[in-house]
Amino acid sequence: MIQLQSIEKVYRTDTVETLAINGVNLSIAKGEFLSIMGPSGCGKSTLLNIIGLLDEPSKGNIKIDDQDLSRFSDQQLAKFRNQKLGFIFQSYHLINDLRVLDNVELPLLYRNSSAKERKMLATAALEKVGLSNRLKHFPTQLSGGQRQRVAIARAIVGNPQIILADEPTGNLDSAMGNEIMDILINLNKNEGTTIVMVTHDESMAHRTHRLVRLFDGSQVQ
C-alpha cells in the first residue's frame, strides 16, 4: 500500500544542515496498523508528514497504491490527500469557530459533495465515534477526548484508505487514550483502514500490528 524507498530529509539553514530522516525504507501493507516510536526529534513526525504528502523528501521515493507521487502537482497532491488520506493530530487541529458538525464536514468541502450528503456523512462519522449528541457544540465546549474523537470523525468522514495519526493520545489521560485507541483499532479491524500512528506510548504501540523505531532519523527496528 505504502512504499518508502531510501527516504532522506534534510533541513537546511544558512549555517546548519540537519538530517531529519536518513535512508528510511519502509513498506506498509494494506490494512496494517503500524506504529512509529522514537525519542523526541528523531524524525517521527517528519516521516509521517512525508507519508502524508505534507512534506517532500530530499531524496528517495514514496509510492502509495503503486502511484509514484513525486511528479504530482500541488492540485493533484491535494486531491490525493483528500480522497486517500485522513489525518489525526495530537493537538486535534479543530477550528474553534466552527461547530462540531462543520468541523467534520471540512474534508468533504473539497469534494463535489452536496450539503445534504456532507451533513449525512458527517453525522454518520460522528455516530461512529459516539458523538452524535454533540453536533451543534463548538470544540471549546468539549473535553480533550471528545475533541480527539471529533478529529477522528473528520479523518474518517471521507472514507480514506489510510489514516495518519500523529500522537493521537499524546494530550489525553490513559483512560481517554485507550478509548481513542479502541476507536482506531476498530476502524482498522472493521473497515480495513491502514493506520500509521506516531506515539511515545509503548503500551499503545504494542496494541498495533507492527512497531517501527527511529533514532536520529534512521530506522533501528
Binding site: 508528514n49 512534506d55 491535494a78 477550528i95 466552527l98 464536514e105 473539497y110 473528520r154
Partner: protein
C-alpha cells in the same frame, strides 16, 4: 464552500468587527466623494447654454446720475449707442447684477395651477442680452420692444422650469403667477438652460424679464461682446470712457477669467477632499492588509489543516480572498442601507441618479480595494508549508 465561509465569518464576527468597521467607514467616505464627483460630472456634461468668450462685464456706480427716469433713460440710451459705435464692440446689453459668473444671485418664486416653484433665478435683462451671450431660444421668441407695454408682464423661462411646470406641453402663451400669485406673467419664450454658476453646477429654474425704465436706477452692470481685435489698449480706452461718462470708478472684467474663478471655487475644495479621502483610503488599505496578514499568521494551523485534508494552495488563497469579499459584502449591505436614504429622502435636493451611481461606483471601488488588499496575503497563505503550519500550531 460559500455557506461554509459565511458560517466561519459569522461565528467570528466579533474578531472581524475592526475589518467590518474599516470597510463601512471607507464606503461612506467613498460614497460622499463619488456623490460629489457624479453630481459635478453630470452637470459638467450638460451644455453650458451660452458663450462666455469675448464677453466683458463693466460694473459702475451710477450714484451720481440723475434719479429722473426719463433723463436716466436718455443717458443710458446715449451710452448704449456710444458703446455700440465702438468698432471693437459687437453687442451691448444692460443687465441685472446676477449675470453668469457674477457671484450675485436674485431669486423669486412663481406659481402655476396652485403649485409654487421656489428658488427661481430671476434675471432682469436688456434687449440684446440674448445676442451678447448667444443664448438659444428653443420655444417661442426672445423679447421684442413691445414687451415692455403689455397687460401681463412678458417673461421667458428656461427649459428646466418649463419641464417642471408644463412637462411636454408648450409653455408659450401660458400665464403664471408671481411670487405671491397676485400678478400674472405671460411666457413668450423658452431658452436653453444656462449654467450661470460654473460648469459644475446645475442651471436650476430660471426666468428672464425685460429690463424696463423703472429698473434703470438699480442697474450697475453692462455686458459687452467684443470683437477679435479688442486688446488691452482698447480695454484701457474703454475704461477711461466709462469712468469719464460715469464720473466714477468702473471695473471691467473678462468672462473667461470669471468662469475660471467660479470653477475653481468648486474644483479646489473637491481636490482637497479627494486628497484627504485618498490618504484615508491608503490608511484603510494598509489597515485591511495588516488585518488580513495578521489573520493569516493567526490561522496558520487552520491553513495547514486545510492543506492536509485536501485544499490546494490556490484553494486556500481563494478561500482567504473570498472571506475578505464576504466581509466586504456584509459591510456594504450596512453601508448601502445608510446610503440609500439619501435618494429616498431627497437629501440636498440632488437627483436620485447621482446617489445611485455613486453607490454603485463605491461598491465597485470597495470590492476592488478589498480584492487588491487580500490578494497578496492570500497568495502568501497559499505558500504556507502545511507541515510547518501544523507543527507551529
Amino acid at each position: 464552500m460559500f455557506k461554509h465561509l459565511f458560517k466561519l465569518i459569522w461565528n467570528k464576527r466579533k474578531q472581524n468587527f475592526l475589518f467590518l468597521s474599516e470597510i463601512l467607514v471607507s464606503f461612506l467616505v467613498i460614497f460622499a466623494v463619488f456623490s460629489f464627483l457624479t453630481f459635478y460630472y453630470q452637470n459638467y456634461s450638460k451644455p453650458l447654454g451660452f458663450e462666455y468668450k469675448k464677453v466683458w462685464s463693466i460694473n459702475y456706480d451710477n450714484g451720481l446720475l440723475t434719479k429722473n427716469n426719463d433723463s436716466l433713460q436718455l443717458f443710458y440710451d446715449n451710452l448704449y449707442k456710444s458703446l455700440k459705435a465702438m468698432p471693437q464692440i459687437e453687442e451691448v446689453t444692460y443687465t441685472g447684477a446676477n449675470y453668469p459668473y457674477s457671484n450675485s444671485t436674485m431669486s423669486t418664486g412663481v406659481n402655476h395651477q396652485g403649485k409654487k416653484f421656489d428658488r427661481v433665478n430671476n434675471y432682469v435683462v436688456g434687449a440684446d442680452y440674448k445676442k451678447v451671450w448667444n443664448v438659444s431660444v428653443i420655444e417661442g421668441r426672445w423679447f421684442l420692444p413691445e414687451d415692455v407695454v403689455t397687460k401681463n408682464k412678458h417673461i421667458i423661462i428656461n427649459e428646466t422650469l418649463k419641464k417642471q411646470m408644463f412637462g411636454k406641453e408648450t409653455a408659450i402663451g401660458k400665464l403664471i403667477g408671481n411670487y405671491d400669485d397676485k400678478e400674472k406673467m405671460k411666457v413668450v419664450g423658452v431658452v436653453q438652460d444656462i449654467k450661470a454658476n460654473g460648469d459644475f453646477w446645475p442651471a436650476g429654474n430660471a426666468m428672464f424679464s425685460r429690463l424696463d425704465t423703472g429698473y434703470l436706477k438699480n442697474t450697475s452692470d453692462i455686458l459687452i461682446k467684443v470683437r477679435d481685435g479688442a486688446d488691452a489698449t482698447f480695454e484701457s480706452e474703454l475704461y477711461k470712457f466709462m469712468a469719464n461718462t460715469m464720473r466714477n470708478a468702473v471695473e471691467i472684467r473678462h468672462m473667461d477669467e470669471m468662469r475660471d474663478a467660479k470653477n475653481e471655487v468648486t474644483i479646489m475644495p473637491m481636490v482637497i477632499f479627494i486628497i484627504i479621502a485618498s490618504f484615508l483610503i491608503i490608511n484603510v488599505a494598509l489597515g485591511l492588509f495588516g488585518v488580513l496578514w495578521y489573520n493569516i499568521n493567526k490561522r496558520k494551523g487552520e491553513i495547514g489543516l486545510r492543506r492536509a485534508i485536501g485544499a490546494s494552495g490556490s484553494a486556500v488563497s481563494y478561500q482567504l480572498v473570498m472571506e475578505a469579499m464576504i466581509l466586504a459584502t456584509m459591510s456594504l449591505i450596512v453601508g448601502s442601507f445608510f446610503a440609500i436614504q439619501f435618494p429616498l429622502l431627497n437629501v440636498f435636493n440632488i437627483p436620485a441618479s447621482v446617489y445611485i451611481i455613486a453607490m454603485l461606483l463605491s461598491v465597485l471601488f470597495i470590492y476592488l480595494l478589498v480584492f487588491a488588499c487580500s490578494l497578496y496575503p492570500g497568495k502568501q497563505a497559499s505558500g504556507i508549508h502545511p507541515a510547518v503550519a501544523l507543527h507551529e500550531e
